[in-house]
Point group: C2
Chain length 247, copies 2
């Protein structure tokens, strides 16, 4: 039996693989050496590899000198609680987080935009590969846009269930009683779309590498979930979908 | 200028790609159809794909029926703060998280194991693909084991800097002034190693699929960082390394 109470905010985490990622791969294929690369870089992370080899031949040593001048160093301060207080705070945080559920019914009650801003700012404090901060958060409130998003997500998710993901995946999901219908994407007052940036651009227009971008964005999602739970706005399940061609 | 104050806990997040992942790939290669798979599953996540096709031919429909009997449903409860309170809480959480830094100097002061247990329990509340919870947290306090870990990490990291990651990566890291020496792995009283499980095992010994395992583990890392910041034990940078052959 499910006792899912309507909640306040829907977080739709769509981790989008930019279309550029496809482009990167095509370039690599044209070089005709994917086998050699895989072999020599066996220990390197997938998403790192994808965007790194684009730039191997480039000479970018000057870029550091340029950017260094603009770096502002912020003094680090640190407060330590007494041990008893540390234990108490860690216990309370665990108990609060442990109340989070991935619900499928979302209340349409409005919440202040300031709260949405704050939880996204908190997520943006996440560490990231070489401090590239490879994320984009998009807040959607417009009912028509939300509905368009729902249609895209449902269409892709239906393909997941019907053929893309295979029999095993569908079987494994049965106990969760989920399907591809996502009516909460209409009912939730706010959707937060989370995009990963597989690369960035330098001031001179050159592509820059976003190391470990998927891991970094996912860590930011973890902090976002914690922030939402702190304000007791229980978020929607994380819909973790890689959409190759969403533009 | 850096003003890095010694802190309490080092979190070493080593995201380990099990050696089985290699095995999975070998099996796939033997099937001789990687091209076809890539084409028909273009939208499917990398880590999902890696472990899924191992099981496509298997008939596991019975497993759900078995596991369903053991499922315990926990009623969902939800508290909503007044809007003003929500805003205040989200603001405070952001300000606290914004004080987190990826430091390279770690205090050797001890902290209660109960705190470590609680922050790991909090991380374990993270959502995960099909609720597979594909993570293993390992707490290391023994100085000899810590030192062995340091040697492994430094050895791999030196290869990263010297040849594996390439010129561009080394250039991009220059402004962070990092290198492969990790003496904080000795000085920190506690290391938390975080492993991703690319698959699990069912009661009958069969391999089970851990969907989106890297994303799921990274989300758990985000919550772990938030939990550590809540107790004001500022964590070490996330060392996000994929180690293919660490056993």
């Amino acid at each position: 039996m499910f006792f899912l109470t309507p909640v306040l905010v829907a977080v739709l985490c769509i981790l989008v693989v930019w279309i550029f990622k496809n482009a990167d791969r095509n370039i690599q294929r044209k070089k005709g050496e994917p086998g050699a690369r895989t072999k020599s870089r066996a220990w390197v992370d997938e998403d790192l590899r994808d965007s790194t080899y684009l730039h191997q031949a480039e000479e970018d040593a000057d870029e550091w000198q340029e950017s260094e001048e603009n770096v502002e160093h912020i003094p680090f301060s640190h407060t330590r609680y007494p041990e008893k207080e540390m234990t108490k705070r860690s216990q309370e945080f665990y108990e609060l987080l442990n109340k989070r559920r991935s619900v499928r019914f979302i209340s349409n009650e409005q919440i202040p935009m300031e709260v949405i801003d704050n939880v996204i700012k908190a997520a943006g404090t996440a560490p990231s590969g070489a401090h590239t901060e490879p994320w984009t958060f998009v807040v959607v409130k417009d009912p028509d846009v939300k509905h368009e998003i729902r249609k895209i997500v449902e269409e892709e998710e239906e393909i997941n269930y019907m053929k893309r993901m295979g029999h095993r995946w569908v079987t494994d999901l049965k106990k969760l009683r989920t399907n591809w219908i996502k009516d909460y994407l209409d009912s939730a007052p706010v959707l937060i779309l989370i995009f990963k940036q597989v690369h960035g651009f330098a001031a001179n227009g050159k592509k820059t590498v976003h190391y470990y971008n998927e891991i970094s964005v996912s860590i930011a999602c973890g902090i976002l979930l914690a922030a939402l739970q702190i304000v007791k706005t229980v978020p929607k399940e994380l819909v973790l979908i890689s959409l190759l061609n969403l533009q």
